[in-house]
Amino acid sequence: MGNSELVGWDYIDEHPGNDARGYSLDDYLFPEFETQLVNTVLTNGARYYVDHAHPEVSTPECRNALEVVLFDRAGEEIVRRSMQVANEGLPSDSEIVLYKNNSDGKGNSYGCHENYLISRQTPFTQIAQQITTHFVSRQIFCGAGKVGAEHRGLTGKNSNPNLFQISQRADFFEEEIGLETTLKRPIVNTRDEPHCDPAKYRRLHVIAGDANMSEVATYLKVGTTSIVLSMIEDDAFPAHLVIKDPVRAVRQVSHDTTLNAVIEMVDGRHLTAAQIQTEIIEAATNYAIRFGLDSVDEQIGNDVLQRWRNVVANLQTDPLTVANIVDWVAKKRIIEGFAQRHGLQTTDPRLKAIDLQYHDMRIEKCLALRAGLDVLCLPQDVMWSMVHPPSSTRAYFRGTVLQRWPSDVVAANWDSVVFDIPNQGLKRIPMPEPLRGTRELVGDLLKISQNPVDLIAKLGDGF
């Protein structure tokens, strides 16, 4: 946004067909149709592109959950600004409107993906089984809410179109684990494309979550999942907490706003999602005492843990007490209040319109902005983060070189930046370590470098 020169995305290290279970579909998949004209990297380290038929923003790599919220908000503002600029060029009777949601209510879904850096040493089967328990049950505080159902339902009959459900996305999961992201979607996606040193790391590519309008919901979604993944890495997740039929359970949880639905566990117990969450929180509390939460940022980790405890306890007492945090509760409150005020049937299209408009990116139309949701980020920090990278990851290097030498960078992707050096040709700087390239490590170097040639000479073998 800060300069007019767009730097293209470099596809050389992209392998979305690699499967964490140990094989690759790259040889069998059709190439993904993406136009490179609309695929770019921003000075805040983010990637901004067209995915199938809609704009998509990937935040830069962040060190903790609060940074993710900040850069997710920055992404919203970038998209909002794009929408405004695009509309200025359209005839007055046309308008492009963007929505930050996950379903059109007609059986079409599009994801809000999370990505987590995890150790390659942890067996993938263990990660998949244990994180599934969290994905199924975390919906109760990070579901974005939806009017209607887009699945035949638990009984096989056409499901109730009047249903208000907790999650936007739950209707679309058909498998426990798999590589697909657009058909027969799995709860745990096995795409094995770490975008960093593959001998040391995995990137868990999560497709099971909703796009949240509530900043605190995003914070809890990412923060609790980071803690749970840390527990799994340290073999501290309760081994007995395994759901018998996760695909069924995802919908059971989503379709029950009373939070009373019981899920069958492999050990024979029947637990509600809140009870499962309570057991995970208890284990996380013990984990924090025993191991500390440095892996997710100690201060943020402890704050997440406290809020996690509160939101799950409050949901069990009275969901309305978290209408300022939890999207589905905020949305349900508006829909029920509106229906009551106007004496509407549950099938009235105005209620579905409220559902959709909750996610409208136009400030003058967005209902989430009017719902009384708590915020975490200061507006000036969001504005700053639209053009400046986080300081705590390699995104700092990527964003800063783009800002300083936009015409010398010919391409960039997650794990490298390519410079065009006069008389020397293209020079690729690899970035295999996501937690290097930070301000602390390369800030001074970038400051004293006169130009890319100078920078490359000073970098030596990289960082």
Binding site: N108, D297, I334, P349, A353
Partner: protein
């Protein structure tokens, strides 16, 4: 086990934003004060006028 603990400790890094989170930590425990009536008044004003047509024409093909 000791090695795993060391792994965590080596990635220790407090960030500037961490202190801000602390300052706002008590915010979401406040009572829900947003008045539903005034909220609904506002929604009456901004809700798409032809809801049926809007909902019907809202189609998004494709996506992960």
């Amino acid at each position: 086990m000791a090695e795993q603990i060391k792994k965590s400790a080596s990635s220790r890094k407090a960030t500037e934003s961490a202190s801000r989170s602390d300052a706002t930590a008590n915010k979401d425990t406040k009572n829900i004060t947003a008045d539903l009536d005034s909220l609904l008044n506002e929604i009456d004003e901004v809700l798409e006028s032809n809801a049926e047509e809007f909902v019907k024409s809202y189609v998004q093909k494709g996506g992960q």
